[in-house]
Symmetry: C2
Subunit: 195 residues, 2 copies
Amino acid sequence: MPSVSPYSSAKKRARIVETAERLVHERGFGATTLADIAHASGVPLGNLYYYFKTKDAIGDALVDRLGARHEEIRRAWDESLPPVGRVLAFIEASLETRESLARSGCAIGGLCSELHKEPGPLAARAATLFEAFLGWLTTQFKQMGKGAESRELAFHLVSSLQGAALLANTFHDTKQLARECKRLMAWTYSLAAED
Amino acid sequence: MPSVSPYSSAKKRARIVETAERLVHERGFGATTLADIAHASGVPLGNLYYYFKTKDAIGDALVDRLGARHEEIRRAWDESLPPVGRVLAFIEASLETRESLARSGCAIGGLCSELHKEPGPLAARAATLFEAFLGWLTTQFKQMGKGAESRELAFHLVSSLQGAALLANTFHDTKQLARECKRLMAWTYSLAAED
DNA sequence: GTCTATAGGCAGATAGAC
DNA sequence: GTCTATCTGCCTATAGAC
């Protein structure tokens, strides 16, 4: 049973996942070793196996954490903004994190690109992160009165940002990414004005 | 000195690179082992080192091959089509290879996504593959009379196709990719009609 | 629960016979 | 030039002391 101190099992487990998420974002899943994660989170290598049976289990936990954080962000937007504002906030998030995107690419896009080379359980879980955003965006477009084409609009938006993030990372440049974000924001405004 | 038989050094070397290119596209660079390449190209493992000093040298050769093939395709388009037709042919190439894109993603995009996690000489070489397409597309847009914005138009096009390819691979689905290709073809036509 | 030590396996790379 | 055998090192995972 975990203790209740600030350095309890749960906290240590969370720190491991947090570190793993950062390293995997920066280096990729395959290129991140358990020794890297152990060292960066201040835990002895062997001890990782008390918290996670396998490396893939760390991958699962990392995807869960990523999904939960993004879900929380979407809920905050749901509670404070109208549908158009939510879509704009989604685009603006890429604009605001453009330095990180240029340095290490998109965390979700990178995972899907790497893991979907050949299918596996972890790859399928990574895809659900995209699916969550696509579903949420589809809902926003529907609430903007876009009806059946809402899913395609959502796809266009996610797809555009992913491509821009990939090129930003490739050329370590934020300018074209920023331009694409602004184009997509104008596109969102024009969709809203159609009604 | 290489022999001149159909199974000469040069041919064997070419077969190794060809095989490596396919496997790396399907599995990624890090996940492809020299043993995989040796086995799939019918060459004993140790013999790879007669043709290539290191794994990275195979990566270099693979990027060269990819770049040379694409350059040839662009030259063929240059010789047979007007600027608008070249841009349309570029988009149509993604449409035609959509099954492969859904199965393994874009070969160039996958390489850049994987290798640019942290910079290295091979990553820089992979980026030149994108740069070649961006430069060529910029020329086409300029010839279409687009002037200074040509570079941004080229970026938008490559970026859009990369995003669509990533999602096609993630969901193993070609429909939204096809839709995005058609949208980009219509976009190209509308650019051409602006003059 | 925590940590050290190490097993077991596979990767890239090399040596050297033919 | 070609191939077999093998070295070395790192990575995941485990055993077992404390």
